[in-house]
Symmetry: C2
Subunit: 244 residues, 2 copies
Amino acid sequence: MRPQIVLFGDSITQQSFRSGGWGASVADAYSRKADVVLRGYGGYNTRWAMFLLHHLFPLASEAPPPAAVTIFFGANDAALLEGTGKRQHVPLEEYKENLRKMVQHIKSRSPKTLVVLISPPPIDLEGRQEYARSLYGDKASKLPDRTIEDAGIYAEQCVALAKELGLPSINLWSKMQETNGWQKKFLSDGLHLTPEGNAVVFGELVKILDAGGFSDLPYDFPQHSEIDEENPGNSFFQECAAVL
Amino acid sequence: MRPQIVLFGDSITQQSFRSGGWGASVADAYSRKADVVLRGYGGYNTRWAMFLLHHLFPLASEAPPPAAVTIFFGANDAALLEGTGKRQHVPLEEYKENLRKMVQHIKSRSPKTLVVLISPPPIDLEGRQEYARSLYGDKASKLPDRTIEDAGIYAEQCVALAKELGLPSINLWSKMQETNGWQKKFLSDGLHLTPEGNAVVFGELVKILDAGGFSDLPYDFPQHSEIDEENPGNSFFQECAAVL
């Protein structure tokens, strides 16, 4: 009945319903208007996510296509080949082509679906190392698993693809670095988002969704103050006839 | 593909995806396992919610029935006939019968659906009055809109019905009052929930869901650490065959 907003991505999407999370905030912002569907897969890169595409977005389905999809990968694709995340690494060109195939797949089901590309965030090396030490102590790898430079190159390609395909995008890598102290303010372990970091994603995304008409969506049933308490059935008959 | 947990209720459900909200916490707890569907209608009582029943829970549907439904009403039904919330008031007996009809409707679609009844929270009169003054100043009504005693009577009938029907329930009215300072600790305006109050609902609900088998649900696709990076297709072929 309600349009769906599907959040497709890695751990930054999977964790987006934690306290202050951007996904939960989207669900709250459009409560009574749209359903938010969480499809976050921690640790996944675009290569692995490609295997999910036909399951999560079946081309032949009775259900209506999603009204919007966020595609938010890259943090794992950009893991360094020399570091502890090497098995997650995906070469830059393949990353971009995987994103392109995801967009094409979703758009082939319905060209009207609003697809939003979100780039990986910047990396705080110090935060990553502190996190590794908190887990492994002296045994923590001294090699970085990710760098801000590599994340930036992937972010650039993500945003370039969005431009090429005429899609809205969020360059989270750039956006976060506009704020002083982004390293600790926005990132909890040098990679994942604090509540303030989640608020950045939410703020950017809601601008795109609202520009795409989501703020104008009707409530799915009458507001309680509009219900005729003497004859509530009348309120529902009229409103439901309009909605259904 | 994933089982659904539908949250059906009034504003305390509608607001459950705000920061620290119980609904978002359920979505987070079962991410990769179940989908949480938000069906909260601010200001609604059970009488008005009855008009939504066939729309939200259609008896004839291609889609699988929800795996679990929380029914969380009563805060508005228990509004006093003499106060500013009088139009929301529903007599006690009708409240109980409406809840019974909701349960019967959902169970008639699928007896296996885990239906959880949640009672209204206690009321903090001082908190309600402070909130009214913050909105209307000296023009705020001096009459209470809700009382802890009335909320308690509705809570009692909610829980009694759950017992009668053999359903799990949460007596939020009692549970919250076990903690000293519940008035400000758990309630933001004498009625709605603070993050700590949300945590009470979440804590009780997750016990019920886990006892109902939800913690044992499989992940919907392989964990990233289990993916064979040399031949990722193998991991997905096996896992997807098991899931699908």
